[in-house]
Subunit: 124 residues, 2 copies
């Protein structure tokens, strides 16, 4: 439960940051039947962003294959997709779906690579 509530708190934090920046933000409903969704959708100046939020304290971030495929799929409709990783003590980092590497059972990216890219929310 604690992990869930920390994740939910991180998602709410990102939502508030985006609103501060002038985005219209919609939080997606929890796991619907047969539906994958991003956690947040944000819109500003005719641009649409989708965010999958993660709050993990590990040396690698991994995501289900379905999630990465979905984020890539919606890019075809003009959605700018990001995985937003909140790394404890370091803040938020944006990762493009294509930057994850396919593994046998999921997609993953190392914290090292994410820190090197250093793509912060200032880019939004």
């Amino acid at each position: 439960m604690q992990r869930y509530s920390k994740g939910a708190r991180a998602e709410r934090e990102l939502l508030d940051i985006l609103k501060e920046k002038g985005y219209v933000v919609v939080r997606a409903a929890g796991s619907g039947v047969n539906s994958i969704s991003p956690d947040l959708v944000a819109i500003k100046n005719n641009k649409v962003y989708a965010f999958e939020c993660k709050f993990w304290d590990r040396s690698n971030l991994s995501l289900e294959k379905d999630k990465i495929h979905y984020l890539k799929e919606i890019q075809k409709q003009g959605v700018i997709s990001f995985v937003a990783w909140k790394i404890p003590r370091l803040g938020w980092f944006l990762i493009e779906p294509k930057e994850f590497e396919e593994q046998k059972k999921n997609y993953s990216i190392s914290k090292k690579k994410v820190l090197e890219m250093n793509r912060s929310l200032d880019l939004l």
Copy 2:
């Protein structure tokens, strides 16, 4: 409870129709704290739509002032906003926020006017 579940069913129906039409659709999380949201956000070909869904069997449809103001507000960021009214036995009708008339306590529009405009989901 019955009214809620019929409303939820109508919302799910609209979601499925939009998906069939090739839209990426995100259902918004239920009444968040201090947050107004549309029921559905749909994206296709770089265009973003927001829908407030209603399933009412009355001669007038009314919406809270906050909701109409929100739908008008997000249009400034490029969101195409609609109230989607499912009228029993007649189907879905799209209404623009500006087409509602301000009343003392809410905004409303008559079924008569909506049927005259006859704006169906075929327009999407």
